[in-house]
């Protein structure tokens, strides 16, 4: 093995790969060989660093120099100046990494200062295609500890005590779910991972799978041990080719090392897992629809009860958790429930990953302790609104959530507080809107999405959301009448209470919440017979 004096970490997340970070890697490798530095300097392709806005990102250790928006032609300069002569190339540093000519290392930059990385702990630190690097940072230690020192009941108790809640949006206590599935009768049980991340604008699950796939594999094996299952499935979107590939590599490596397979850690516990691809249906993020899809059917939700814990995949007891939830589990087992509870709030311990997008300076992926306020997220971590515009609202929870206005910016973020101000945590998409954005159009956008994605099984969602969309289009195209607003509201309330699954029950939320906070914008459309935001083209699909 070789020790290197310097590591060049290149972001291999989807965002940076889209801006050609793979080409940067090739160039680095080629030039390092040419300059005979390849025995001293190691190039590592990692997962997402989170600050997608500044991509492609390169971090050079040991200094922790944070280079952003690096171009192919800059590679030579970084090698010549930094790697050869030890002079940091200041002009390429991320703008916040150099203040009054003082260079800061990556973890001193404001964007990262308020963050607390648990689920994203290894993202941007390790090479996701090398299991040894995961193991180096305590990987699979939790599984080893559980299999050799803990009973399945103790594992479940620890997860329960930690207060971990489902990060997919529901916020259901994870430990309870594990307990139910463990108690369910059945000779065969399954562990599922929901990686069908559909909320447009949320991409934390993808980043975790791309940057740290073993954390999910380890957690699923832990879950298998806890509930008595030997088979897992990861249901992942086919739109995430990099994540699928890295996860498959990780599964293969875990098998080779005997961390999946028979008699893991010399115990009598066997566990293996398989990837199943989604095919572009948002509703498959709903757990019963996801199960139907794995079984090879149209991904339509089923009535609950029975819950998957009792009758899930192929009618067998099934545990299903989201990617980010799993990414917390191994560390909880390793460090204990109390360690986890120290972070976050009493009822929502730990951290949450958010995807910051829209009208915000630092677009990207962040992980913050629960209880951080929206203001801190938007202005400190997110760096505020670009072009000196005024903040108008932030949408959380995607098409199921609602918008939050400036009056509520000091609300600490946790599952319950977001619900109490009329939005929800959701999977963690956070889209910022500025004064130029028309809220009626935003509501129409989300509804257009749900109409498209409604599976068609139950009429309130299939027909109701379509009617709502028609009314909204009528309003945005300048043909609305004052009565339309009441119609919209009534219809929304009906769909909420009568739909079969979460998709329909929450689909009206963006409309209800914009109606509540921005009714004047709706009224302006209706009264002036046009969109009051002149730059917006009249939308007629």
């Amino acid at each position: 093995m070789n020790i290197y004096r310097s590591h060049v970490l290149i972001c291999g997340g989807t965002g940076c790969t889209s801006s050609k970070s793979d080409k940067l890697q090739e160039k680095f490798e080629k030039l390092l060989v040419e300059k005979e530095l390849d025995k001293e300097v190691k190039v590592v392709r990692t997962g997402c660093f989170g600050l997608c806005e500044a991509g492609p990102i390169i971090i050079v250790y040991p200094e922790g120099s944070f280079y952003s928006q690096v171009k192919i032609d800059d590679v030579e300069e970084i090698i010549e100046e930094h790697l050869l002569k030890g002079r940091i190339v200041k002009r390429l540093l991320f703008k916040d990494a150099i203040v009054e000519d003082i260079v800061k290392s990556v973890d001193e930059v404001d964007f990262y200062k308020k963050q607390k990385r648990i689920a994203l702990k290894n993202c941007g630190v390790i090479n996701p295609e090398d299991i040894d690097e995961y193991i180096a940072l305590d990987g699979y230690l939790a599984l080893g500890k559980a299999l050799t020192e803990m009973t399945p009941e103790e594992v479940i108790e620890t997860v329960k005590d930690s207060g971990l809640r489902g990060r997919g949006g529901g916020g259901f206590p994870t430990g309870l779910k594990w307990g139910f599935t463990a108690k369910a009768e059945g000779n065969q049980k399954y562990v599922l991972c929901n990686a069908d991340e559909g909320d447009p604008g949320a991409f934390m699950d993808r980043s975790i799978l791309e940057g740290d796939p073993h954390s999910v594999i380890e957690a699923m094996a832990l879950a298998g041990y806890a509930i008595g299952s030997n088979q897992g499935y990861v249901y992942i979107r086919a739109e995430y080719p990099i994540a699928v590939e890295r996860l498959q590599i990780a599964i293969n490596q875990a098998r080779e090392k005997g961390l999946l397979g028979k008699n893991i850690f010399g115990s009598d516990f066997d566990f293996d897992m398989e990837i199943r691809l989604g095919a572009g249906a948002f509703v498959c993020g709903e757990e019963t629809a996801l199960i139907a899809s794995i079984e090879g059917e149209r991904g339509m939700p089923r009535n609950k009860p029975p819950y998957p814990a009792n009758k899930g995949l192929w009618q067998k007891p099934t545990l299903i958790n989201n990617v980010e939830t799993y990414a917390n589990v191994a560390q909880i087992i390793l460090h204990g429930a109390d360690w986890f509870k120290e972070m976050g709030t009493e009822k929502s311990p730990g951290t949450k990953v958010f995807a910051l997008g829209g009208k915000i300076n630092n677009t990207g992926l962040i992980e913050i302790p629960m209880g951080t306020t929206l203001r801190e997220v938007i202005y400190e971590v997110g760096g505020g609104i670009p072009n000196g515009k005024k903040f108008k609202a932030v949408q959380t929870g995607g098409p199921s959530g609602g918008c939050i206005t400036s009056e509520s910016l000091d609300t600490p973020i946790d599952f319950d507080s977001l619900t109490s101000i009329g939005s929800m945590m959701g999977s963690g998409g956070m889209i910022v809107m500025d004064e130029d954005d028309c809220m009626v159009d935003i509501a129409r956008f989300f509804l257009d999405f749900t109409v498209e994605e409604s599976c068609g099984k139950c009429p309130p969602c299939r027909i109701g959301t379509k009617r709502m969309l028609e009314i909204l289009e009528k309003i945005t195209s300048g043909k609305g009448e004052p009565e339309d607003l009441d119609r919209l509201e009534r219809l929304a309330e009906n769909i909420k209470v009568s739909s079969l699954c979460g998709l329909g029950q929450t689909a009206p939320n963006p409309v209800l919440s914009t109606l509540k906070h921005f009714r004047h914008e709706y009224e302006a459309h209706v009264n002036e017979k046009r969109c009051p935001f002149p730059h917006l083209r009249i939308n007629s699909i």
């Binding site: 997608c52 447009p200 572009g280 059917e297 995807a355 083209r537």
Partner: protein, 162 residues
């Protein structure tokens, strides 16, 4: 739009498909993986391919058609040589990706989910592809165009015309 499935031309592909079905036959819930592979082999899922899968897997054609039409990733018509995707995720939408879709539609006289008659271009309004930092984003096959304005589109499309 008429696209004809040529049995003779697709002979080898059909053999490959049958091998894939053989590999997956014993798997529980094999339909989705088989459809994914079939779409990869043929580029789309014409009714002829669905019938083969139906016979081989002993699943009613109606059921297969139901699944194939339910998921947006499966296409019943061939995709273009150049597949254009405009991201309509929220982050891109807020930054104006709708105007990109409209521009492509107009330039190529093409509807969303359609393919041009010469088989050259197809257009999809994709869900978030996760390049939110580059919003709004358009992709043409593997090429990614970020922070795009609609008046830059004709020039980009031109690159793929000949």
């Amino acid at each position: 739009m008429g696209f004809k499935f040529d049995w003779e031309e697709n002979k080898e592909k059909i053999e490959t498909l049958k091998e894939v079905i053989e590999e997956n036959r014993s798997k529980k819930g094999s339909l989705m993986p088989v459809l994914h592979r079939a779409q990869k082999i043929f580029g789309y899922l014409p009714i002829e391919v669905q019938s083969i899968i139906s016979e081989e897997l002993n699943v009613p054609l109606a059921e297969i058609y139901g699944v194939a039409t339910f998921y947006s990733q499966f296409s019943l018509i061939p995709k273009g040589k150049y597949q254009i995707g405009v991201c309509l995720g929220t982050a891109c939408y807020v930054k104006g990706s709708q105007s990109l879709v409209d521009k492509v539609k107009k330039e190529l006289n093409l509807e969303v989910d359609g393919t041009t008659a010469d088989g050259k271009f197809s257009l999809q309004a994709t869900r978030c592809i996760g390049a939110c930092g580059l919003a709004p984003v358009m992709t043409v096959n593997e090429d990614v165009y970020g922070k795009l304005k609609s008046d830059e589109i004709p020039k980009i499309l031109k690159k793929y015309m000949d």
